[in-house]
Symmetry: C2
Subunit: 228 residues, 2 copies
Amino acid sequence: MKSDGNIPAPAVRRLSLYLRQLEVLWGDDRQKVSSRELGNALRLTDSQIRKDLAYFGQFGQAGVGYDIAELTTNIRKILGTDRTWNVLLVGAGNLGSALSAYRGFAKKGFRLVAVFDSDRKKVGKPLASNPDLIVQHIDELESQVKQREIHLAINAVPADAAQQIAHRLVKAGVKGLFNFAPVNLDVDSDVAVSSVDLAVQLEQLSFQVSMTQSFVESEKTRRRRKKQ
Amino acid sequence: MKSDGNIPAPAVRRLSLYLRQLEVLWGDDRQKVSSRELGNALRLTDSQIRKDLAYFGQFGQAGVGYDIAELTTNIRKILGTDRTWNVLLVGAGNLGSALSAYRGFAKKGFRLVAVFDSDRKKVGKPLASNPDLIVQHIDELESQVKQREIHLAINAVPADAAQQIAHRLVKAGVKGLFNFAPVNLDVDSDVAVSSVDLAVQLEQLSFQVSMTQSFVESEKTRRRRKKQ
DNA sequence: TAGTGTGAATGGATTCACAGCC
DNA sequence: GGCTGTGAATCCATTCACACTA
């Protein structure tokens, strides 16, 4: 594998999509795939896929394409998912609870090993949506991170607590934060943060829908109808 | 407001972040803010913020900055969130259920008005995490979309059903899809799609964490310790 | 012939730098 | 003096086009 000669972030994001598609092809018992075919499936150009992969090494065979099993293995290595990651969850509310039940994580090698909450009423009880996990009090956080070698955390606490929890997680030694609170987390530069703001996603849809001419027109006629 | 003279997608994404920060400032009873100050809070350059806003109009005052209330109103208009959007949810599983309870949507003017599932055991019952909503059978989808003027949908069904549901939603008249399934949805080009793949987000963290030298080093010594 | 890997060309987005305004 | 709005310059990502290989 090539060394990190400054790889574009968009390329890394697409790597995950390539992997997802390769897993589909693998399930279809396919052996080889070309950049063209991958591109068609993902609505990307073939040259982009070749360029992205070339950042990391030479995985293809001219005239043949890429070996699906081999490329899958290689992308997993690149993404660091050729191992199991222990993950902890902070926040046993609705969202946290749902995330703990999400099967997709385990499929990719992410193992949820601990759940924390500050609410004493929840502590000591199993999670409804995943009874294997007993909620621990947030003050157990630091010791558990060390004992169980946890490097990744999902932060599913309310917005007003998110920054403080992030700080504690980082101080405890967590290296990557998956943040659901609608705030910009401030952390050391050697800690990775990936944020999903659910409301922002809907806002983006709102923008795109509002832009499309067909929608604008239909809204106009709707309002005309109402006035009458 | 300027007409759509081809606006960069990244600029639109940042608009949501500006809005989020403006709401914080508004809560602090602030009147004005400069691009510099906004930039510091969001870790962006001041010129980027000015350029982004300039795509849509002239909202600032030289020497003074931007009026917080005014800019907030303007960005809401741009994003199309100066109105209420009716939203439906498909999939009353763990994730869908959690999403239905998420307060953040309502705060931004997104009103969840219907929930659908194919499981007859769930139909007719209220959602545990949001008892105001009664789960309807998926076959009610088409009529409800029309009757209740629903333009946005959250798709929280399993991966193998996601494409089929997306197709039905679009055919029923939904114009924007918020997709949680780990698949590339194929829809008409006038329909907006915004996808969040939770496992992909963790994969990206895994990559970033694996890259940092400090992590690589600590893993090496950990393995050494284990061998002894 | 089919398809990769990659330098060169293009296209976009970000930053710079400054005129103009409060 | 402080700050916006914006062309120009720079930086980065994507696409093109083709030499090369199986």
